[in-house]
Structure formats: structure tokens, C-alpha cells
Symmetry: C2
Subunit: 222 residues, 2 copies
Amino acid sequence: MVETNGHTSTEQAILDAAEELFFDKGYKLATTTAIAAKAGVTHAMLHYYFRTKEQIFLKILDKNMNEMFTMLQTVMSPDLTLKEILKEVVNLHYSFLSRHEKLPSLILELAGTCPEMFHRYKARLRETVDKEVFNHRMRFDREADAGTLNRIDWFQMMFMIISMNLSTFLALPLMRNVFGMDSRQETAFLEERRKEIIRTLYARLFGKGLPEESAVSQECII
Amino acid sequence: MVETNGHTSTEQAILDAAEELFFDKGYKLATTTAIAAKAGVTHAMLHYYFRTKEQIFLKILDKNMNEMFTMLQTVMSPDLTLKEILKEVVNLHYSFLSRHEKLPSLILELAGTCPEMFHRYKARLRETVDKEVFNHRMRFDREADAGTLNRIDWFQMMFMIISMNLSTFLALPLMRNVFGMDSRQETAFLEERRKEIIRTLYARLFGKGLPEESAVSQECII
DNA sequence: CCGATGTTTAACAGAGTTGTTAAACATAAT
DNA sequence: ATTATGTTTAACAACTCTGTTAAACATCGG
């Protein structure tokens, strides 16, 4: 049953079922039995192909994290104005999230309940953040000096962008639950949300006559 | 062993242990055995006092949700300017969250994995939201008409405030993990974050000369 | 002291979890 | 056809989870 890509069809079926269940229920609550059942095989097959639950999970997590890092690295193309870059960052991140709706909550679960599993990505994440800091932080400060941009701490700005995008998708299950949105309303809400995030970001960075609270302390977290 | 408050000391010990474990591990992963062990009793005691895991959980969740609703209702005192109200909303919500650091992720877990358990709060949440809409929405629209405020959809604004605050605390475990913050850095980060959230909100609402993206569509989700 | 009541323990039941293993099955090469 | 190889199954082991129960223990009113 070996196919051209080197995977057997059952191997792929297990991977697909596992990915869906891990994202749906999280690492601990997605059981090997349920994964096997969804793939249409005995749970012994899962251990035959991947030995342990942890190994199959890491294979899936790796795939998704790689896509995330690729997105993070390509997100900032240097030959654009800051204003264009910011819009691009929000849009790309946002579209990545709509293709990986449940990745954020999985990562948050992992950070909370099995941090050791998250360990393998820490170095890479820090490295990526640091690199982007060096690439773009100076530029923000220069524009702030020139007065074409309201001063903002770089880390706070990144945190703001990421958290505004993330929380939209983190809150989605809750919104569906409480407000009973259908898929048309959901699409409309997400689109309106994306625009509002850019609006807010632009207001913070390029708006004039901001109140005195806009003063920024110099301390930086990283 | 009955004490003055009507609870036995073991009953209280179980409640305390349960609260800590439920917030730490979530509903499904906090086991009755572990709760009993932490309380220093046999797990049979847990069933003697509370019959089932679900009942003890609901008792704890109820307590926390009540505090949340109280906070939500008292958060908007009507005899303040909009500007003052907004700052007050952010500050109260933020301080509530620092006292209930792990409530958001528990609620998100619940919405995802046991929505039926969340069901009992839906009506009350909708009701609270609706009430606040009627109380304050007109006021925002009036000020926007008068030009003392940039126009913004009320729901989007509430979502923005809540999500900026929430995501700060949702990301905290991850930040500790990745950047290894000590508690002094953490306090500084949280304080800087709180100020930045107010800055951003003020910029969006009161900033002048916002780019064309600031136009707001009229459609409303609720 | 005694019995009624409330509390605690230890053992058990039943279901579900991850992981192993020996035997059955399929398939292709010799 | 036979053998070697890879795949699949069903049964099993060891563990953990929730919940029950009968018996032991404490405490206090009479």
C-alpha cells in the first residue's frame, strides 16, 4: 500500500484524523483511540506507524509551526513604506489565522499544560523576534524622531498587532456560542474586525493631537 | 467539625484545592483524585460533599462568573465623561483580570470543549451586553455626530477593549515561557501594557486626521 | 454510658486511557 | 508454491479516572 509520496494511505489517514482531533480537543483530550476511529483503523496502527501519541503530535505541530515561522519571516518585505508594511503584516497574519483558526488556542494550551513540549520552538521564536527587532526597530525610531509617526515602543506595537489579530480568532468559538452567528454574519464580522484593527493601528501611529497619555516610557521588555 | 460559616473545614479545603486546580489545568484535566490529594483528603470526600465533579466545578465557576458580572455592571458609572468612562472601563477590567488571571482561558476552554456547561451564563451575558448597549450606544453616536469623537461601531469598540485586555493575560504564560520574565519585569510589562491600551483607545477615538481607512460601515453584529 | 448523627476511610466497580504483542493477513520476489 | 516482508487485527496489560458502598470512626445530646 505504499504510495508515490512514500506514505501509506493509512499513515496519511491517521495524520489527517490526528490533526483534526488535536486542533479540536487539544493535546491531552484527543485520544489515540478516537484518532484511530476517525481514521478508520485500529488504534494499534497509530502506534505501529508513530510509536507514541507524543510523536504523532509533534509531527503535526512541527508542520504547523513551520508554516507559522515562514509566514513571520516573509511578512516584512523591506521595500515598502512603514504604513504599507503595517497593513501587510496585519493582513498576512490575519489570513494565516483564518487558515489556522485553532492553532493559537493549541499553542496557549501547550504553554500552560505541557511547556516542555513547547520548548523546542523557544529558541527559534526568540531568534525570529530578535531579527525582526533589528531589522525594523531603528526605522520606527527614526520616523518617530522625524515626527512622521507617533512614538511607540516596538515590542508593545508588535504585541498589540499580534494580540488584536489573535484574540479575534480566540474569541470566535465564544462568539458563535453566545451570539449564535451564522457563517455569513461570521464572515462579515471578521472582515469588519480586520478593517477596524488597521484603523486602530493607524490611529495610534499616525493620528494627530493625541492626549497626553501618549507619552511613551523608554523601558523595553526584551 | 462544622464552623461558624456553615462549611466544614474539609469542605472549604476541597473547594480551595478545586479552584486552584480547575484554573490551572482546566475542567477536564483537573482530576477529582488530584483535587482530593491537594486538599489532603480521600477523593471519596469530594463526592460525599459535592456528589460529582461537575457540581463542584459549577459552584466554583458560579462564584467567579458572579464576580465578573458584578464588575461588568458597576464598570460604567453614568456621571462621568465618555473619556473618563473609557479609562475606568479599561482600568477596572484590567484589575479584575489581574485578580482572576486564569478565568479567561478557562472560559475559552469551556466554550470550546463543553459549551453546554457555559449555557447557563449565555442569557445573562447577552442581557448584560444588551443593557450596556442601550445605556451607552446613543451617547457614542451623539458625540460622533457632534464631532467630539471619531465614529466607531459600538460592538467593535467593546470587542477591542475586552480583547486588548484579555489577550494580555492570555499571553502571560507564553511570555513567561518564551522570554523568561521575572516577576519585576512582569509587573512592569503589565503596567506599560495597561497604559498603552488606553493610549491606543484614545488615539482611535479622539485622534485627529486619521487616514481614510477610518470610515466605518453601518452594519452591526448584534 | 449509649445511641444517633455526621464524617472519613479503604476497597471496589466500570469505563477509558496508552501501549504491547502474537498471530493472521496481504503482497511481491524468488 | 514458498518464503520474506510489511500490514493489520484482536486480545491483553497496566494504569488512571469517576463514582459507590459498607464499614470504621468521631462527636455530641440525652
